[in-house]
Symmetry: C2
Subunit: 310 residues, 2 copies
């Protein structure tokens, strides 16, 4: 029931021999989601021991090359590996046109279908949902239409408190009723309120990916209470003006968003190649938000739910 | 006056964490040519200390992803780095459509122009020429239209033999005449044949890139006398049938082509990922053509001209 985020790359646009551009794998209950796909993403997945065949869906924040250009080679490879299941790719417009051109000109005989789902980067809404997981779009403020993504586990199913079963001698039928969230009427006529006899065995976790973006107080509100927050920090705090002009954030911006949101932990990344030593960036953020870590390639950040008492 | 070939990648299509797909930089008299551009090529160039801004032209053998998908991120980066000079890309059809879609959808504001030059993969002809260098297309036999490339230094300018200058007391004008390749008439009426008084200071070198291809005796004739030959060897000699079916060559095929062509040295590459240990492949080729080497990532193969005597 944990969430694990593996950093495949977190360098900014200008490539260097040091780091790979933005890409992450988010593993929620053994569902693997790729978030952004900078060049080299498939090789980085292999290095991190994550099989590309496991991918459940892809989320692309925006159509700048350093977040996108690794996707097409990956799609090609999934074909070589014989994927048959369609693969949904959530991305802003005009990704559909790019995909269409790619499939028509480069990969006309893929054995599976990559399906584009358009993301409206102006809206904060659910774009993906299944039994256990929701993904919400997060409008970001960059030079081109850009969305962050908020991954939320759904609340786990209700358990019935052991003492209630024993005290009231609940039948199997009554237990099922309680697990559905209903109140339970006893033979005596007494009605047990659902909340008094059930509990959630653990809390649902959440992770938000926010890159690339200017500082945004609105974003902080949208990710309120998030357990783990990735927020870009392309520049040091003294580069505030340049960050703002270029649609990026500083270390201080990222830390302030984490602080306002009441996040559990913060990961900063997407560092400009001008910074060889990242420790000063980390320190700047930690002064505002102590639970900050650097997005280092190959590292996996895991958050575990706290078991709840009955 | 040397030719240096740097291997940026020589793995075959299925990506692994081990090696990069096909890409090389050929440096002829400080002119840098990129030959094929598998994913990660720009990062590999950086690792090998070759500035992408130095690229003079790009030659793509065929439009399979493992020879191509690193090109688009590289074109994007050249824009970030402020390239202004047009960049010629020699590639078979329908590369032009891919480039058009890429420029329209992904990189509409590049500060330079990537220009496609169509390569007719059925013809062995000069496709690039300047004062010092020629590049010839080499029809290869693969599953899709594919061309190899033969890089030839032009013969260096004529020098006039020192003894001739002294013996006949040649004037500056007569020396210039001889350097132009003309015969020289002395005052005595005697005519000195150009060949008797001039020489080429060194031999012109040549390098041929042949990937991907079936064995071809015709290819061996086209690269006759080549100083350095890169020939793919996707499979070991015992996989001849599969190699043939898939449009690839074996170690033995590559070595036979080198032998028939009378090549100086052979580099084999484009190995299937099934081979973890490449030494057995090398030995197979060396049994037929001893001067064989493995294309290892990051390695540079240099050929130097032999100075010629007067």
């Amino acid at each position: 029931m944990s969430i694990a985020v593996t950093i495949l790359g977190s360098s900014s646009a200008k490539p260097s021999s040091m780091g790979h551009p933005s890409a992450q794998v988010v593993n929620i209950n053994e569902q693997y989601f790729l978030v952004d796909a900078g060049e080299g993403v498939q090789r980085q997945m292999a290095r991190c021991g994550i099989s590309a065949l496991k991918l459940r869906a892809v989320f692309i924040s925006h159509l700048h090359g350093d977040h996108l250009y690794g996707l097409f080679p990956l799609l090609s490879t999934l074909g070589l590996y014989g994927r048959r299941t369609p693969l949904r790719i959530y991305a802003p417009r005009p990704f559909g046109e790019m995909l269409e051109a790619f499939l028509r000109l480069c990969e006309s005989d893929l054995p599976y279908t990559p399906e584009w789902v358009e993301v409206d980067t102006t809206k904060h809404q659910i774009i993906f949902e299944n039994d256990t997981t929701e993904v919400w779009s997060l409008p970001l403020r960059h030079r081109v239409p850009t969305a962050g993504y908020l991954f939320r586990q759904k609340e786990p199913a209700l358990n019935v408190k052991k003492f209630a079963i024993e005290r009231y001698g609940l039948s199997v039928q009554q237990i099922v009723q309680a697990k559905r969230g209903e109140d339970v009427a006893l033979e005596s006529g007494e009605v047990l309120g659902n909340e008094s006899i059930t509990y959630r065995p653990y809390g649902a976790l959440s992770y938000a990916y926010c890159s690339d973006t200017n500082y945004s107080a609105r974003l902080a509100r949208m990710v309120e209470g998030v357990d783990l927050l990735y927020h870009e920090a392309t520049y040091a705090a003294d580069m505030r003006k340049i960050a703002k002009e270029r649609g990026h954030a500083t270390t201080a911006d990222a830390a302030k968003v984490a602080q306002m949101a009441g996040a559990g932990r913060l990961i900063i990344g997407h560092f400009s190649t001008r910074y060889r030593d990242l420790e000063p960036l980390l320190k700047e953020a930690q002064e505002i938000f102590p639970a900050t870590e650097l997005a280092r390639e190959g590292e996996t950040f895991v958050i575990e739910p706290n078991p709840r008492k009955q």
